[in-house]
């Protein structure tokens, strides 16, 4: 008797067209102009970035566009020490949640030009954009964030956004 079949491979490949939606389309188009555009909730006044067209707390549509700063505060971070396939940067490197000035929710991005051991909560950082001619409708228009050298933000200033 031949050996039983223990494993089969069934390759699957499907292609999808992503719909960014109205709110994220505005956000992505603004990135191509070197701007960060969020939306303010008309009810609780929180500013969301990237905007999703709704306030998940109040369940109301968000329409008002708000430009936020490309500077902010590291609210939390992780040091990536483990290599994985397709990794663009050599570990160790720092991925951080950055609360942009004027926003109420942190975005997740790379933190560079800093020794991993020096990354910390409260660190003030700024966006490093790609050159003007390389800007496009993608979060990759911001290459990474780097420390500004300003004094650290007080814990109380971001404790609601962890």
């Amino acid at each position: 008797m031949s050996d039983p079949v223990m494993v089969i491979g069934t390759p699957i490949r499907l292609e999808y067209t992503f719909t960014a939606g109205e709110a994220q389309t505005r956000f992505l188009r603004a990135l191509a102009e070197g701007k960060l555009i969020g939306q303010r909730c008309p009810s609780c006044l929180k500013v969301y970035i990237p905007p999703r067209g709704s306030c998940p707390t109040c369940a109301v549509p968000t329409q008002e566009a708000v430009q936020v700063s490309d500077r902010g505060t590291v609210t939390t971070f992780c040091i990536v020490n483990i290599p994985f396939p397709g990794q663009a940067i050599k570990p160790p490197f720092v991925a951080a949640s950055v609360l942009l000035d004027g926003a109420d929710i942190a975005i997740f991005h790379l933190l560079q030009e800093v020794d991993a051991a020096d990354a910390r909560m409260g660190m003030r950082v700024e966006a490093v954009w790609v050159p003007r001619e390389e800007l496009r409708a993608s979060m990759e228009s911001v290459r990474y964030f780097r420390p500004t050298g300003e004094p650290d933000a007080a814990y109380d200033s971001y404790k609601e956004h962890l």
């Binding site: 089969i8 069934t10 699957i12 499907l14 292609e15 999808y16 067209t17 992503f18 719909t19 960014a20 939606g21 109205e22 709110a23 994220q24 999703r52 067209g53 709704s54 306030c55 998940p56 707390t57 109040c58 369940a59 109301v60 549509p61």
Partner: protein, 352 residues
């Protein structure tokens, strides 16, 4: 058993490809509309449950981001089924039967346009021996249609008449997508998509969303003059393997219909979730629906078929005919899986 009723229904317009709005943006006005019509304040709704399929968006946990449309803070009691919203409604009905909540919001969404739907649907088949052959959803339905024709249970003309009636009825449904007056003779001169199915035998590909609010007993009576009381609801499933089933019959629909109390009662309306024309004939026979029952006044799934939404929409469409006084008892049916594998039957009635 607690008395539970549908008190409101809302749906988006169904379109072939909504390139402007993402799922949350489609859902938000639908959910707000259903809640507003229910007369129950959003914060007082006891349970929230959704039905959707991450394979449609091609993103794991896509259903979690849809919660942005709901307002889930402070934390709400919430659940999800990776199924048509009709089964989410079943879960909500069970929750209300358990007695700890009196109301529930059920919503479903589907952007069927984002991938190649015929291939996406292949992934619901047996992953070892069937899916690797990539039979697409229309080819699988065509096997069933061929079995119906070979058994002498219908003709291609019968099928074309169902398509023409559905599209004609869809004209009075503002949400419907594929509507109009079509001559069956002209339809029958069209080429096959997959023999014996022509384009009109197949559902349109639709993007859209729907929402229903359920309420129990006194709450339903307080918020609605004429709630659509659920007198019976049941769902049954058949084997996944197509080869062990008689595809011309739907024993799961028959059993669910019996358990839901659809037999031996006068039904004014039936909303059947039959994405393919020949499937309506199988369902009508399984449920014993005679000529006196108005079938799919909304146009049904042949006029709009947002995947994961169309079953819940059948319940909503049937319910609104009781709520608006045009029917006293209505049957709604939802299906899932290839060739009517799984079926849910919900019977609703007015109580004066």
């Amino acid at each position: 058993m607690r008395d539970v009723a549908v008190v409101s229904f809302a749906q988006s317009p169904y379109v072939r490809n909504d390139t402007q709005r993402n799922e949350v943006e489609i859902l938000m006005p639908v959910i707000s509309d259903a809640i507003e019509r229910s007369g129950i304040p959003r914060k007082e709704i006891g349970f929230t449950v959704s039905g959707s399929c991450d394979y449609l968006a091609g993103q794991p946990f896509a259903f979690v981001s849809a919660l942005d449309a709901v307002g889930a803070w402070p934390p709400i009691r919430e659940s999800h089924v990776e199924m048509d919203g009709a089964w989410a409604l079943y879960e909500a009905w069970v929750q209300i039967q358990c007695g700890d909540v009196d109301s529930a919001l059920i919503y479903a969404f589907g952007k069927s346009s984002l991938g190649d739907l015929r291939d996406v649907m292949t992934l619901q088949l047996d992953p070892y021996c069937v899916a690797p052959l990539w039979p697409d959803s229309i080819s699988v339905a065509a096997l069933q249609a061929r079995a119906m024709l070979d058994a002498g249970r219908c003709t291609e003309g019968d099928m074309a008449e169902i398509a023409a009636r559905s599209r004609r009825d869809g004209q009075s449904n503002a949400a419907a997508q594929l509507t109009g007056d079509f001559d069956t003779g002209a339809l029958l001169r069209e080429p096959y998509v997959v023999s014996p199915l022509r384009r009109h035998d197949c559902p349109p590909i639709s993007d859209g969303a729907a929402a229903v609010v359920l309420a129990a007993g006194d709450l339903a009576r307080r918020v609605s003059k004429r709630p659509a009381w659920i007198s019976g609801i049941d769902h049954r499933i058949e084997p996944a393997s197509l080869g062990v089933r008689d595809l011309t019959q739907s024993p799961s629909t028959k059993l669910a219909g019996e358990r839901a109390g659809a037999v031996g009662v006068t039904l004014d309306v039936a909303e059947l979730h039959a994405p393919f024309t020949h499937q309506e004939l199988i369902l009508r026979e399984a449920l014993g629906l005679g000529a006196g029952v108005r079938i799919n006044p909304s146009g049904g799934a042949l006029a709009a078929n947002a995947v994961m939404v169309a079953g819940l929409a059948r319940i909503g469409e049937a319910a609104v005919r009781i709520i608006d006084g045009s029917a006293n008892r209505a049957l709604a049916h939802a299906t899932s899986g290839p060739c009517l594998q799984q079926n849910l039957v919900c019977v609703m009635e007015a109580r004066l």
